[in-house]
């Protein structure tokens, strides 16, 4: 049996279903991210696990116990908030020890535990400071330590890095992951940042309009999206309109140029218009490498993004991007140049519409 289990969970606000048909099993020690755009229901689902929202239907079970109607202060679930939510009237040490004091742990246990937590978040000796004396990153570290100090059975993180600047975000997410793995705590991480979700998680739950679009390992989610929404939302994706030419041979036509897909064209008819997707990084210049598909395009724009260069090309009505790694000796085409691009049959995904 899974450690955390959500079964047929639904949450309605009036006539609006914020979350529906939500089923998920999370194993002990796993870090699962809820990824999706604003309003997709990821925070509502997290709040139902925390006990701040009651599900309209369905159940929430942790370690075999049904906690659906258990109040939040009886669930033994730690939570980290986007806005840190440190108690301004308490020092860092008092904040971290708050849960332990509520649990009526003796002072001789609280002090070493607080010290242990301060060491875990690399802030030893800062226990006497007040929250307003700390930077945003430090405050969020303290919030994490506070949520972990009382040894909760599940850790919930609600967009914990959103209020921080980019550099701190990257370093802190690495710390969160390493602390989570060190403690082996079952964790649910809510984010709208795909990079965060992909880099941190054992599994990612991609959500849209209150339901799950796809659940899978980051590699699977990125490389094998099963719906158009997932393909569009996770990473940059080129979507091209194509026409089915041969179902058995998996051949399609894009603006008069024939291409081949390695994926079955299930249920498609010859002549039918479909959407296909290709990741920008899977497209190369034919002059550099030769793959099964070759197309002629015109260069429309070149954007330098640091480690990669993104080239916008056009063929007929379809405009799409290709990415190439930056290096000092890279010879880039000029705007308006005709270039031949190439990609494998595996890179061409035929998308079904989201539910």
């Amino acid at each position: 049996m899974a450690f955390l289990e959500l079964t047929n969970v639904r949450k309605s606000f009036g006539q609006v279903n914020a979350v529906e048909s939500f089923n998920l099993k999370v194993e002990r020690g796993e870090l699962v991210s809820f990824l999706g755009p604003s309003g997709c229901g990821k925070t509502t689902t997290l709040r139902m696990i925390a006990g701040f929202e009651l599900p309209t239907a369905g159940s929430v079970q942790i370690n075999g116990a049904d906690l659906t109607y258990v109040p939040p202060n009886k669930r033994n679930v730690g939570m980290v908030f986007q806005s840190y939510a440190l108690f301004p009237n308490m020092t860092v040490a008092d904040n971290i020890g708050f849960g332990l004091r509520i649990a009526k742990k003796p002072a001789r246990e609280i002090k070493p535990r607080v010290e242990e937590m301060l060491a875990l978040i690399h802030m030893p000796g800062l226990g006497n400071r007040y929250p307003y004396q700390l930077s945003g990153g430090q405050q969020q570290r303290v919030a994490l330590a506070r949520a972990l100090a009382f040894s909760p059975q599940v850790l919930l993180l609600d967009e914990p890095l959103s209020a921080l600047d980019a550099k701190i975000r990257v370093s802190l997410r690495g710390e969160i992951r390493s602390i989570q793995q060190k403690l082996g705590i079952t964790t649910i991480y809510v984010t709208h940042d795909q990079e965060e979700a992909l880099s941190l998680s054992d599994r990612v739950v991609v959500m849209n309009n209150g339901h799950i679009e796809q659940v899978g390992a980051p590699f699977e989610i990125y490389n094998f999206p099963t719906t158009e929404f997932v393909a569009q939302f996770v990473g940059t994706l080129n979507t091209l309109s194509a026409q089915v030419q041969d179902v058995g041979d998996k051949r399609l036509v894009v603006d008069g140029q024939a291409i081949k897909s390695a994926h079955a064209l299930e249920g498609a008819r010859v002549g039918e218009k479909v959407s296909i997707s290709i990741r920008p990084e899977r497209i190369s210049f034919y002059s550099e490498v030769q793959k099964v598909n070759r197309m002629e395009c015109a260069v429309e724009n070149i954007a330098f993004l640091g480690s990669i260069v993104r080239i916008q090309v056009r063929t007929g009505a379809n405009v799409f991007y290709m990415d190439t790694f930056n290096n000092p000796f890279l010879e880039l085409p000029k705007l308006g140049d005709k270039v031949q691009i190439t990609f494998s049959a595996e890179a061409v995904l035929v998308l079904r519409q989201s539910a």
Partner: protein
């Protein structure tokens, strides 16, 4: 620029003269009890009067009770409205403004009519009348107390702090008394000083409920003596200003902290 400054200062000076001149007149008059010289005799007479001490002690005690009971009633209410009933906020705000619309005399006659007979005959003894008077004071001070608490609650992220405390195992009582009350320190102090100033100077409720409060004492003194009421006015004025000064002082301390706090 200079022209603007001149007019601005002129209006400030005129306003200050309009305000301070009568005050100066009262102060000057209060010092002239001894013919031909300035003295503090009127102040001495007031301070040596046992009625002054008793009535002030009574009002101060009533003010303390009003502050404690009022805050215990208003803070949880305002907190709950912020947390769970934000749609009810306009209604609650309207109710808290009623003491401005309904005069104290209407309130006290209502009290006398309802609480002079069974089932709640509170006016039958001094102790229960004091309780009635205290609740009357709570109503009179409500617009100020509620606004002060409401402003304090708006300045902190009530919902997230509550949820953070709950996720750490805290119940409602702990959330309220260990998280919300301490973080409303400045708002509560402001409210307390305002309530103190209101209660100490209040006349109508205490007079009609026949309690030996400071407000009726001041009026009574004004009927019998010439210089002492002026001295009392100055003392009362100083007390009010001291309360306002303390509010300012505490608020100034909190502003610095508020700018640095990271809970928003």
């Amino acid at each position: 620029m200079k022209k603007t400054n001149f007019w601005a200062w002129l209006w400030i000076v005129l306003g200050a003269v309009y305000f301070f001149l009568p005050l100066y007149g009262t102060l000057d008059f209060s010092l002239r009890e001894q013919r031909g010289i300035l003295s503090l005799l009127a102040y001495q007479n007031v301070l040596n009067d046992p009625h002054f001490r008793n009535s002030f002690a009574f009002s101060a005690t009533m003010a303390a009770a009003t502050i404690v009971i009022g805050l215990l009633l208003i803070v949880p209410t305002a907190y709950w409205v912020h947390l769970r009933l934000p749609q009810a906020r306009p209604i609650v705000e309207f109710i808290t403004l009623l003491p401005f619309v309904v005069p104290a005399i209407v309130l006290v006659f209502g009290f006398i009519r309802i609480y002079s007979g069974p089932p709640l005959a509170l006016t039958n003894s001094a102790e229960t009348t004091n309780i009635l008077l205290m609740f009357g004071y709570i109503v009179v001070a409500l617009p100020y107390t509620y606004r002060s608490v409401d402003a304090g609650l708006r300045a902190i992220d009530v919902r997230t702090l509550t949820e953070a405390a709950q996720s750490l195992g805290a119940g409602w009582f702990t959330v309220l008394f260990r998280i919300i009350f301490p973080n409303l320190r400045v708002a509560l102090l402001s409210s307390a000083f305002l309530t103190f100033a209101i209660v100490v100077g209040e006349f109508t409720l205490a007079n009609l409920l026949n309690r030996p409060a400071f407000g009726p004492y001041m009026v009574l003194l004004g009927q019998d003596r010439a210089y002492e009421p002026a001295a009392l006015s100055i003392m009362s004025f100083a007390l009010t200003w001291a309360a306002i000064g303390l509010i300012q002082w505490f608020s100034r301390g909190a502003q610095g902290q508020g700018q640095l706090a990271g809970t928003r």
